[in-house]
């Protein structure tokens, strides 16, 4: 013991700064979980026990997968304390149809955490969104189960009564594309469906149906500065503009066709994707310009997949594809440094 230590003086050394702000990775993740609770409550309200089961299975499976892999394969201290596995679990559950067998949800969770996240080094090292990777895996492995829908309690599958054929109107998006395809599009029908669509009284994956609940959560994220406006506004805005311009109903930016983009942004996984998945920090660009490019790219891809692709829904794949472009976007959107000297010639 040094003379100073004997006097009760024990000084610690480190590089500056010697103070830190309070925000931490766990506090950010918990804020996201808090922001997801309105949508979780909506999912239970509309889909009942099925939603509870899926949420429970995903949470247990994701946490268990991460804990087992870290403890027995990596032999490191547990990483569950950063709450990122909890966020992935809830987001994955939100992307599943209510009727999905629970064991499929467990397998999807194992893929999301084990393959998409842990093989690359865990939180911060993954290059694609783990929840969306899990969903994509399940779509490929169990396509039938992943596209079997159930009506919400007290509501209809697509939110539409009337003109559109009952068998093929599985979800609002499917109903829309069918209507445009068969030329039976009637703005009025879709206008009536908007209310249901906004609050979530329609068929779809358990967490994506209620735009209202998602927006409530998004406000929490914005207020706590966990996310910014760039990605969601440009994502939703691009989808809106594209659907208003090119909507197969005859006119470009007509007031008659205005219902189409409004319907499109409330339908399917766009709200959930734009506010919660495309804003995932790890897998998206770090600069504001990069986020704008990312959001716009997702918007274009979502439009293209919804209109020309085989699936009525394009959000998951749009985001996953843009995730792959993130390192490139980051490299070319460097901020202009203070005092940057312009090169001559």
């Amino acid at each position: 013991m040094s003379e100073e230590q004997q006097q009760g003086i024990d000084l610690h050394l480190s590089v500056s700064p010697h103070i830190r702000d309070r925000e931490s990775v766990p506090s950010i993740m918990l804020t996201v979980v808090l922001a997801l609770t309105p949508a979780a409550a909506a999912s239970v309200f509309f889909f009942g026990m099925r939603a509870v089961v899926l949420l429970f299975v995903c949470i247990v499976s994701c946490l268990a997968s991460e804990w087992l892999i870290v403890k027995f394969m990596l032999r490191k201290p547990s990483t569950l304390g950063d709450f990122s596995a909890l966020v992935t679990a809830v987001l994955l559950a939100f992307n599943l149809p209510p009727g999905l067998p629970w064991w499929m949800a467990a397998v999807g969770s194992l893929f999301a955490i084990g393959i998409a996240k842990m093989t690359f080094g865990g939180l911060g090292n993954n290059f694609i969104n783990p929840a969306l990777a899990g969903r994509a895996f399940l779509m490929a492995a169990y396509p039938a189960a992943m596209t079997t829908w159930g009506a919400p309690r007290g509501g209809s599958l697509s939110g539409l009564a009337g003109a559109v054929d009952a068998v093929s109107r599985a979800t609002p998006l499917a109903a829309f594309s069918k209507a445009v395809e068969t030329g039976t599009f009637q703005a009025l029908d879709f206008q009536e469906a908007l209310g249901d669509l906004f609050i979530g009284n329609v068929g779809g994956c358990i967490g994506e149906t209620s735009a209202l609940a998602i927006l409530a959560g998004a406000l929490i994220l914005l207020y706590r500065r966990v996310i910014g406006f760039s990605t969601p506004v440009f994502y939703i805005g691009t989808v809106f503009v594209l659907f208003w311009a090119f909507n197969g109903t005859g006119g470009y930016f007509t007031s008659d066709a205005f219902i189409v983009p409004v319907y499109q942004i409330c339908a399917g996984g766009l709200m959930l994707g734009a506010w919660f998945m495309a804003t995932d920090m790890v897998t998206t660009p770090i600069t504001r310009t990069g986020k704008i490019i990312f959001g716009t790219g997702c918007g274009v891809l979502t439009y293209v997949i919804r209109v020309y692709g085989g699936y009525p829904e394009g959000v998951s794949y749009s985001i996953l594809l843009m995730n792959l472009l993130t390192p490139l976007i980051d490299r070319y959107t460097r901020p202009r440094m203070y005092g940057k000297v312009k090169k001559r010639g």
């Binding site: 103070i19 203070y338 005092g339």
Partner: protein, 450 residues
């Protein structure tokens, strides 16, 4: 940067809690000199001073102990009168042991012969020489020899002199008290500097968390005696007191990368330096004491003390009733950029703006991997991407770190302060700078051989 309410600012920055209320109401108090002082020969950037006294010599207060070791250097002076008992290595606040002159204080404070000068009628070179001979260095903490800043080449004319009263570091209140208590002396110091530089405009930048200092200085500056001096009211944000940020906020100019403020016609001096310049030029007093803020939760009586250079930190802390058992970290300076001390026996130097006792260690948890949240790049006042640079340095990719401009980092600590993963980004920036500098030196040496 300039908003409707007349408050200046810069891009980026963070808002750590001020904690200035601990010491801001304590008027400057003179600390009685200790029985022994230890004057380091290296208290400034540049070459250490060259010793000119020897063991056994009797010295007077203000007598030169070491002459400047080159152009970018400064002399050091005795801060007490007495006998030189030994000249050897002592603990130094930088962490290494360095040569210092130990003087036994005879308690008489017998002054060496000094004389002021009539600066208004002297040539600027004479005034600069007076400042250099007095050992004046930057008192904001960087301790750059001031006469070097006052000798810009003719091709770089200076139109703006900025006096830095921002004091943006949390806890520190030394400059604040100086502005309240020695207002006229600071303004006169600014006038002397203005004459030396032939500057056209003079600003005193003060952060708006010090409204009474802004009021007092503005009021005093109205007197025609000082010519035109404007008070620039700055938005309180760390690191507003950084030279580059101050220039950007007040003049909207950006110092070019690898350049100096004189490249955009500006020179910045701390208010403490302005005071020291006044004392040296008008009274002939060399730099042998300074105001130090002693603060933090372990200090029983937080104060702003006028301390003789060479006073051991332990003596200063004991005078302020510090409970050493509570101290987890002792910082020379502020909490964002200050140096953590390993020994309480190291002396107070010209650069010691504050002694801060921290009773908690931050961060209290181990680091995570970077989650690319972007807090660091939003906080960086130089608009770098610390997250990427840290990743490059961690992977040994120093040339990429150089391409992403790690050499332009001012090490303010804003990035590490806001990092939620608690990564010490400043550590990586410093490490990157070290490797890039080494690689550049190697390349230059090889070029010379060829």
């Amino acid at each position: 940067m300039f908003n409707l309410f007349g408050t200046f600012s810069f891009s980026g920055g963070v808002h750590p809690p001020h904690h200035k209320s601990l010491s801001e109401h304590s008027a400057i108090e003179i600390l009685p000199p200790p029985p022994k002082v230890y004057i380091p020969l290296s208290q400034h950037l540049g070459a250490p001073a060259r010793i000119v006294v020897k063991k056994g010599d009797t010295v007077k207060l203000g007598q030169m102990l070491g002459e400047a070791g080159g152009f970018v250097s400064a002399p050091v002076h005795a801060s007490v009168s007495g006998k030189v008992s030994t000249i050897t290595d002592f603990p130094h606040p930088s962490g290494k042991s360095m040569t210092a002159v130990e003087i036994e204080n005879d308690g008489r404070d017998e002054k060496a012969d000094t004389a002021g000068m009539n600066w208004r009628e002297s040539a600027r070179e004479e005034v600069v020489k007076k400042i250099a001979d007095a050992g004046i260095v930057g008192m904001g903490g960087a301790s750059f020899p001031s006469h070097v800043k006052l000798s810009p080449p003719a091709v770089k004319p200076i139109d703006t002199l900025i006096i830095n009263g921002a004091e943006c570091e949390p806890y520190l209140t030394a400059d604040y008290r100086l502005m309240l208590e020695k207002t006229q002396e600071i303004l006169l110091g600014a006038c002397i500097l203005k004459k030396v530089l032939s500057a056209k405009k003079v600003y005193i930048g003060i952060e708006d968390n010090k409204p009474d200092a802004i009021a007092k200085v503005s009021e005093a500056a109205r007197d025609d005696e000082y010519g035109q001096i404007s008070v620039a009211r700055l938005k309180t944000k760390y690191p507003q007191g950084g030279e580059k940020q101050l220039i950007q906020a007040i003049t909207r100019r950006q110092v070019p990368s690898a350049g100096l403020p004189m490249d955009v016609g500006c020179v910045v001096h701390n208010v403490g330096t302005a005071y020291a310049v006044w004392d040296a030029v008008v009274n002939g007093t060399p730099l042998y004491q300074r105001v130090v803020t002693v603060t933090g939760a372990a200090v029983g009586k937080p104060s702003n003390l006028l301390v003789r250079i060479g006073t051991p930190m332990r003596y200063v802390l004991e005078y302020c009733k510090t409970d050493f058992t509570k101290v987890k970290k002792l910082i020379m300076g502020g909490p964002m950029m200050g140096l953590a001390q390993s020994s309480v026996d190291a002396p107070v130097m010209k650069a010691t703006s504050g002694l801060l006792t921290l009773t908690e260690l931050h961060p209290g948890e181990r680091a995570h991997y970077c989650i690319s949240c972007g807090n660091c790049l939003r906080a960086c006042p130089i608009k770098l991407v610390p997250s990427f640079i840290a990743k490059f340095v961690g992977a040994g990719m120093y040339s990429q770190a150089e391409q992403w401009n790690c050499m332009d980092c001012i090490e303010c600590g804003s990035c590490a302060y806001v990092c939620p993963a608690k990564i010490n980004l400043v550590h990586f920036m410093k490490l990157g700078k070290y490797h890039v500098a080494a690689a550049r030196a190697k390349a230059a040496a090889e070029k010379k051989k060829a």
